[in-house]
Symmetry: C2
Subunit: 192 residues, 2 copies
DNA sequence: GTCTATATACCGATAGAC
DNA sequence: GTCTATCGGTATATAGAC
């Protein structure tokens, strides 16, 4: 349930975002969305063409927010290593998983080009942004010049996405943190 | 459809394993299982108490097979680095995702302790096995003694699990391979 | 062991009153 | 814009014939 100040359309999008995060697309029914939003069937089909259309609005917003917050952390001041460390260590609701990454396991999302596009674009943008930072670190001599920036960026994002899997499997955020620490130890510039 | 040599019970388990991999628990209906197995309702409820019971048999078998094949690769001959590289590089149906890891995104699996246990146990065992190998590498001087074996193991498994996410998002195995190469570059012993 | 018939609830969507 | 009524189809399970 949401504040009465939020429009019905907004409440529908927000409740869909929550349910997609918790249960995925296949596991989210219009009925559940409506109950959480405190709306009736008519409202949903007035504002949206159907479940896929509403899900698209929800996914787009979630993708935008994730990208914006990730870029904010990556653009924080510091050395390239520190900026990547800040991204890896930033506060996360680890056991809930990644609201964007989890959609890749949803066959109905992956099968629909419209639903899939924001997921693809978000992860690609974050990888590209991290690759730029690694490249900068190579130029500054903080990272070995032999490293491939795109590969390191992929490893960084994969460690985060896989960390969610390990954490959820074990029921504890510890596994996520362990993976992050392991990667950072490998990435750390040699002390002098 | 399966060979007539396979019992109905076996066909039910095998078709459930496939569907859990493709669509997850929530997205897999008894009807779909029965169609793929070429069996009727009666057979399923004769051999299994219901959907959760059949899913448990399927998940247990998938978990056993994954663990066995992972251990086989990890125990192949070579230096610790080579054994971990063999694990990271082993042939995978990348775009299908991990049949065990994907279950962590299924709320109904995570909510049922019986269904969840094999998922947790499998990933924990693989992490522990890799940690042993890292420890061996530290003793042999191939890895820096400052590294934490458990953390490196977590990073290795997270890179694999997250690599599936990146690959599925982008629709190409390239992102998986990039992450693996990135991690291996960071893990590689210094050349002499 | 396997089949068909049946049951209750929910799915996603539409119609039309207010 | 929002509501309720209704729809055909499916989800999961049970009953009982063969």
């Amino acid at each position: 349930m949401y504040s009465a100040a939020m429009s019905t359309q907004e409440r529908l999008i927000e409740s869909t975002r929550e349910l997609l995060w918790e249960r995925g697309y296949v596991g989210t029914s219009p009925k559940a969305i409506l109950e959480r939003a405190g709306a009736g069937q008519g409202s949903m089909y007035h504002h949206f063409k159907g479940k896929p259309d509403l899900a698209l609005a929800a996914i787009r917003r979630t993708a935008e927010e994730l990208l914006a917050s990730a870029e904010a952390v990556l653009d924080s001041p510091g050395t390239p290593y520190e900026r990547i460390a800040a991204y890896l260590r930033r506060e996360r609701d680890v056991l809930r998983g990644c609201p964007v990454g989890r959609l890749t396991m949803d066959p109905d999302v992956m099968a629909d080009p419209d639903l899939r596009a924001p997921v693809d674009a978000t992860l690609a943008s974050i990888r590209a942004r991290i690759a730029e930072i690694v490249e900068l670190g190579k130029e500054q001599g903080q990272f070995a010049s032999t490293l491939d920036a795109g590969e390191i960026a992929s490893a960084v994002v994969a460690t985060v996405q896989g960390g969610y899997v390990l954490a959820r499997a074990s029921g504890s955020p510890d596994a996520f943190d362990a993976g992050v620490r392991g990667l950072l130890a490998l990435l750390a510039p040699p002390r002098r």
